[in-house]
Symmetry: C7
Subunit: 71 residues, 7 copies
């Protein structure tokens, strides 16, 4: 039986969009994740309305995440 | 004795509505879920008042969910 | 010694009112519950002030619940 | 050594006041409680400023509770 | 090595001040506590600005507490 | 490999600043701490803008803490 | 398979930016971290809009963190 995080396995090395509880969206190349949905992105970029801010490498804490979607 | 998540088992592969704590509703075809209510949807769509935004594949973190209902 | 959730056992198959942390009330026929107070209702209906919205089958996540009361 | 919940043992079958995180107070006859402070009350009544609303039997989720006091 | 809750052991049977996350302060004679910082007070009194409200016996849920201080 | 709380070990018996989630800062001599970051301070003092309030001994619940810094 | 916190291993002894749930950003030399993302920084500095405040050594509680990024 497939598990929800299997959708992340298919996105390894690809670009995903991560939406945070504070309303911010971060995109980046998915490097790694764990069962808490802690996530490591490369070439990450923050999107807040019209501004894009480069973050580079970033570790996002799972409990701040609403959803993750392959771009 | 039936368990609450059994209602999700009956909805596998069908369209469900997921209501989030931030007030947003997301619909999609239910692919998988786990005991934390982490959910994987395909053909997902976000509904916020009059706007529908296509999300495609999406993993929703269980702790952001208020309720899930088969459409 | 009786446990708090025993009050739910007596309500199986009967209509209960569930009050959520966001102030919304949902009523429905109690099908199943677990120790986290995740709840499965049938013929569910959302009550918000004067409006009643039919939800049908619904799984409510336990951590969004304030109280549950047999109607 | 006495435990905090021992104060509840002394209140079994008596009326208690339960104050919730959302500011509402509920009183009722204490039937049962568990280690999470989930609580089952009978003849429960909600007190919000000047209004008293009869709730009957009610299960209150422990994590919404600030304090419990024998009346 | 001393543990943080040892400061409570020294306060058993004495008056403590408990500050809650909602800004309210409650004082009372410390009867018992556990590792979650659930607390049982006797002769408890709520202090909110200029008003003192007698609560008598009270069980305070640990996760609503910011700090506890011997008076 | 050093652990984050090792920085607290070096501060035992010295004055630390504790910043809480509600924006308040408390300083005091660090007596003890545990893995939840529950903290026991002596000669504690609350700092809120221009006011300093003496608290004496205080137990701060770990989950209300943002950061701890040796003064 | 790499884990999300491996991105922190590569940043040991280097400067990272930590963004907190309350919107504050703190930079510092990463000394240690654990699985809860509790973090020990040296030469830490708080950045809030135009002001930089020196914090020196600091222990940041993991559950207040949104993301961590090597500078």
């Amino acid at each position: 039986m497939p598990r929800p995080i299997d959708v992340l396995d298919r996105s390894k090395g690809k670009r995903v969009i991560v939406r945070l509880k504070n309303g911010i969206e971060i995109t980046g190349m998915l490097q790694a994740f764990d069962l808490h949905l802690n996530i490591w992105l490369e070439e990450a970029e923050e999107r807040r309305e019209d501004t894009h801010i480069k973050l580079g490498s970033v570790l996002i804490r799972g409990d701040t995440i609403v959803l993750i979607s392959p771009e």
